[in-house]
């Protein structure tokens, strides 16, 4: 596979390490009342769709960026690639 890195352009997916569902960006509040359940769902119940999937990849053999890649799990077509830090920052701002 080839991941079109937002900064570096197309790079072989072999340079990356895969983590999984991008909802791992949304770490729950550790002090919330339902923290135990929230963390359970956060860590263990991830999206596993047959189709579009937002997922985290790490450019380990490159610039060390974490990326959010939107990819179809049936065709492997990659629809969008973003810097995870930008996504996380935007989510943080939106939450404020």
């Amino acid at each position: 596979m080839i991941i079109n890195h937002p900064l570096l352009g197309p790079r072989d997916a072999q340079e990356f390490t895969y983590l999984g569902d991008a909802s791992l960006l949304n770490r729950p509040d550790w002090q919330a009342e339902d923290a135990a359940e929230a963390f359970h769902d956060y860590l263990y119940l991830r999206d596993n769709p047959a189709g579009e999937h937002r997922e985290l990849w790490y450019h380990e053999q490159g610039d060390r960026s974490w990326l959010v890649v939107t990819r179809n799990t049936l065709t492997h077509e990659i629809l969008k690639v973003e810097l995870a830090r930008d996504v996380a920052k935007a989510a943080g701002k939106a939450a404020q």
Partner: protein, 416 residues
């Protein structure tokens, strides 16, 4: 019709006119007591044991395509009970014992062949871990032997002993491990179930569950609604997709495991060898092909195909271990979709929906579990209690903190 050498002899002399279908293709009835979703090895075994061991009747197996077309038809055929943890080893040992009597049990030669599995160790720490595992196996009634380098060399002199990046320091030998002709497992269970009245319905995809007041009433299919008192879902590889139709999210990701076979070769490898310093395991089929595999492709996927980096990684490891492989040729590679669970261990459990049961999360280890999985799932479906060897395979174990993590990799499905 019973299969036997005598029968074969008679048929050979009379033009094989007497063989009938090994299973029927019935039309689905309106309702059953038990509907098993998924005509793979586990689903067919479940139906077989429900009928044979638990006296159940009115059973249907619904298969979206053709039976045996899932992972039972695309694996590397290994059977073993060399697990470490209490939650696992008794179950896999139960499975191995069922394998040992399977052919006579279902009157089908599935070529169960216990030629031994050797897990190589390359460091002192690996040897310590192998010792702990071997002892756990023995304490659970399985078999294990710890070999030193010379012991390994005596079995497989062609391994790389002299020029290895990671020298072979020994291995854990599990003599009762081995291989099985995988397709025959599906067919044998199908034939055995069919003979006991189970309706095997191919080309019948489940499109939804009819659930009212927290109770399942049946399944919607491409061939119409089929009522059921109990529905058991056994569709590893598609578990998330199917259970989503019942509104459930599972601690499972789907990944592709590639498998490989070489051209047919004269006997070279007797048993199963597992490399401890790279992703490679290998056996040789009765037809002569070297059947091997390694790591999963790391990303979530439902496409039954993998990519080149893993092919190279697996064969690099193979070449590092067996330098003589260079002149053999890779004949075919294929991919199967694995239910990779969050701790690498499976589920055989009721769901929160009354009458709906789930069996899945087998990672890349489902084939060897087929008999016990079917037996235990049948036990659960019939009695509503888990079989004694499958009590740990609960869906809520991550909530309670009772993970069964053989590899110690945590909630990272692609590392199990």
């Amino acid at each position: 019709m019973r299969f036997s050498a005598l029968r074969l002899f008679k048929e050979a002399l009379t033009g094989h006119k007497g063989w009938g279908p090994q299973w029927r293709d019935p039309e689905p009835a309106d309702a059953y007591d038990y509907v098993i979703v998924g005509g793979g090895g586990h689903g067919l075994a479940t139906a077989y044991y429900l009928a044979k061991e638990f006296g159940a009747a009115r059973i249907a197996v619904l298969e979206k395509g053709w039976i045996g077309g899932g992972n039972v038809g695309r694996n590397t055929t290994i059977i073993r009970s060399n697990y470490l943890l209490d939650g696992n080893e008794p179950f896999y040992e139960f499975s191995l014992k069922l394998w040992e009597n399977l052919e006579q049990d279902f009157n089908y030669n599935a070529m169960v062949s216990q030629r031994g599995i050797l897990n190589l160790v390359h460091t002192d720490a690996q040897r310590d871990a192998a010792r702990r595992r071997g002892n756990a196996m023995i304490l659970n009634g399985s078999d294990a032997e710890l070999l030193d380098t010379d012991g390994v060399r005596a079995m497989y002199p062609f391994l790389n002993f002299d020029d290895a990046r990671f020298p072979i320091k020994g291995g854990l030998l599990h003599r009762r491990g081995g291989t099985v002709r995988h397709d025959a497992v599906a067919w044998g269970y199908a034939r055995g179930a069919d003979m006991r009245g189970v309706d095997i319905i191919q080309n019948c995809e489940v499109t939804g569950f009819r659930i009212e007041n927290g109770k399942v009433l049946g399944v919607e299919t491409t061939r119409g609604f089929i009522g059921a008192k109990k529905v058991g879902v056994s569709v590893a590889g598609s578990s998330s997709r199917v259970m989503e139709k019942a509104g459930m999210r599972l601690p499972i990701e789907s990944h592709v495991l590639q498998a490989f076979v070489s051209e047919g070769l004269k006997p070279f490898i007797d048993g199963v060898i597992t490399y401890g310093a790279g992703h490679f395991y290998c056996s040789q089929s009765d037809k002569g092909g070297l059947v091997f595999g390694g790591d999963i492709d790391m990303y979530n996927t439902y496409a039954q195909r993998g990519n080149l980096p893993v092919v190279e990684d697996v064969i690099e490891s193979g070449m590092a271990l067996i330098p003589a492989l260079g002149r053999a040729r890779l004949l075919r590679s294929w991919g199967g979709i694995m239910d990779m669970s969050m701790d690498g261990s499976p589920f055989i459990d009721k769901t929160h929906i009354d009458g709906l049961y789930f069996n899945g999360g087998w990672c890349y280890g489902g084939f060897k579990a087929t008999p016990a999985s079917g037996y235990c799932f049948a036990h659960l479906l019939k009695t509503d209690r888990p079989h004694e060897t499958a009590t740990a395979y609960r869906l809520d174990r991550f909530m309670t903190g009772h993970m069964i993590d053989e590899k110690g990799q945590g909630a990272q499905p692609n590392l199990h």
